[in-house]
Amino acid sequence: MSSLRARLFVALAAVVILAGLVSGLAIYWWAYGEAIELQDGLIVQIGSFLAERPARPDPIPSEAVDPDVQVSVAELDEAPSIDPPPLALVPREIADGLHTLDLQGKTWRVFVQTRRDGSRMVVGQPAEARDEIMREGAAHAAVSFAALIPCLMVLIALVIHYSFRPVSVLTEKLDRESDGTPSRLPDKGLPDELRPFILAINRLIGRLADRLDRERRFIADAAHELRTPIAALTVQAQNLENAPNEADRIRRANELRTGLRRTSHLLDQLLDHARYAVGWASSSKTVDISAIAKSTVADLLPLAEEKAIDLGFVRADKARVRIAPAAFATVVQNLVGNALAYVPEGGHVDVAIAVTDGRATFSIDDDGPGIPADEIPAIVEPFKRGASAMAQGAGLGLSIVDRIVQAAGGQLDLGIPPNRQRCGLRVTVSLPLAAPRTIMR
């Protein structure tokens, strides 16, 4: 049963019915005991009263006997008894006191008393009478209770409905919510049990709204970013068509090809950005990031040679980190690629992987123009490029790296290389080391 209301209603109804049954039984037993006491008291009193008198005085006037009460009196010593049957059948050898006897197929409660003169008498009443009292008592209790049950059910239903009103109100509000930016749920006048839950939902809504906002901005920016290269391609195609001579035609065709390459690179970056947004972390495994870094940097060497840049490792510790290998390769590619793009010809790019304090630190130092300190906080935003950035690029690289690093539980920092004054850039990616595998020995 998934509805809390239904669950509460059924549970409460069961408790009420059970309590009713238990109290009915209790009333029954109590009434039984009371009825026995009452009857015993009655016959003992009558017996004691009659015992003070001589045996068989005047017969008890029949009109003085309430037919409902059905109390009978008999002498025990005479044989054969002149008394009317049932009580006359009481065995003569019975002891004084209270007894329950079976007489002529009926249960009787009898009181036997020996008078001072030694004669004995018995006072009796059929058990039927007291059973009836008992039954009636229990029946009254049961009937009044049964009459209460529907009222109780209605009350329970009302109480449940009223208690759940805040939930229904919230549900209606959520249902009315459009797909746009979700707004926070009202957190005033809530029951204490719901408040932390609603506050948690509001925090989630807040995070989702932020995320949605960022993605929306990203899509708008992406569309804008695509317009410029497409404009360039359009113009380049027209230029190629207008080429006045063969040499120009070849040059312009090359420009168009470069433009296409750049546009497809931008598309790759957009795809990477989308790919590393969510759900990629599941392909993580424990890998040695220095091996990935080495092979990725090796792929970039021709690019470095083209600009006569000294690209190399200053340190490459073995560092086992839980991350998707392709994602880390993307990190290396983007960061080293950035360094190669911005460092002037003949510059230096130093890559290092160091293991310290349970973290792996991947850092890239270059002696390029660096990034002014005030621009650093915004530089990881998608499409943000340094104000003085002249190199080609969409400004997505650092944003992609930041996404990957954050999802892997790491941190991306930009700063100035410690061993250089003022110029250059140090990019540091710090990642938590993977838990060491259990050592079997």
Partner: protein, 220 residues
């Protein structure tokens, strides 16, 4: 006719630069707002093509700067921003036209011609002094109802003359209108192109005023 191209994107800037030169404009291409303001201060451009998302100084701020400068410089905003508010802000700041990327070269050139036409002292689409007329859209000159095809340089030169008929222009004034910064000007190229124009259109079309320069008559 000299154009200031303000575009930070190397690929688009290069492509537009080539397209404008193909269309016989002299082009100075700058990549940031500061350089644009400086260039506009020292060269008398016929028109500026202005991107809005610029480093150093935003395009709109550059536009404001143009507007407070002495001579109003016709400006076409060329940008990826297509929101109505952006257009309104741009046009309100005094841009003469607004072109959203991506665009066709034909459209850019047509809009440039339209803006230049509006700026040029009430001149129609076809420039003319009565004897010679020049259609900037087709680059065809007409003399006595005979159409004559011109090279890019010849067209550029004739357009410079026909924009201001009756005004004598010195060699440096002509060079400034025909060539961008990074174009090498051969020492006698102005004379060379004037000669070829005279061959095509007749010797009387361009008059030489000795010691001053050249001109086309106000009325043929």
């Amino acid at each position: 006719m000299r154009i200031l191209l303000v575009e930070d994107d190397a690929m688009l800037g290069g492509a537009v630069d080539t397209a404008l030169k193909d269309a016989a404009y002299a082009v100075d291409w700058v990549r940031d707002g500061e350089a644009a303001a400086e260039a506009a201060a020292c060269v008398d451009y016929a028109l500026a093509l202005l991107d809005l998302g610029l480093p150093e100084r935003d395009g709109l701020s550059v536009l404001k700067h143009f507007r407070v400068a002495r001579r109003p410089l016709p400006v076409i905003i060329v940008t990826a921003r297509d929101a109505v508010e952006d257009r309104v802000v741009g046009l309100d700041l005094g841009a003469d036209d607004y072109l959203v990327k991506p665009f066709e070269v034909q459209e850019l050139l047509a809009r440039m011609r339209a803006v230049l036409r509006r700026q040029g002292s009430g001149a129609g689409a076809v420039l003319s002094n009565g004897a010679v007329s020049l259609d900037p859209a087709t680059r065809v000159a007409t003399v006595r109802d005979v159409p004559v095809r011109l090279t890019a340089r010849e067209f550029s030169l004739l357009r410079a003359f026909l924009t201001r008929p009756g005004v004598v222009m010195s060699r440096s004034e002509i060079e400034e209108r025909m060539y961008g910064w990074n174009e090498e000007v051969e020492s006698n190229s102005v004379e060379f192109h004037i000669n070829s124009l005279r061959k095509k259109l007749g010797p009387a079309v361009i008059r030489n005023i000795r010691g001053m320069g050249w001109m086309v008559e106000r009325t043929g």
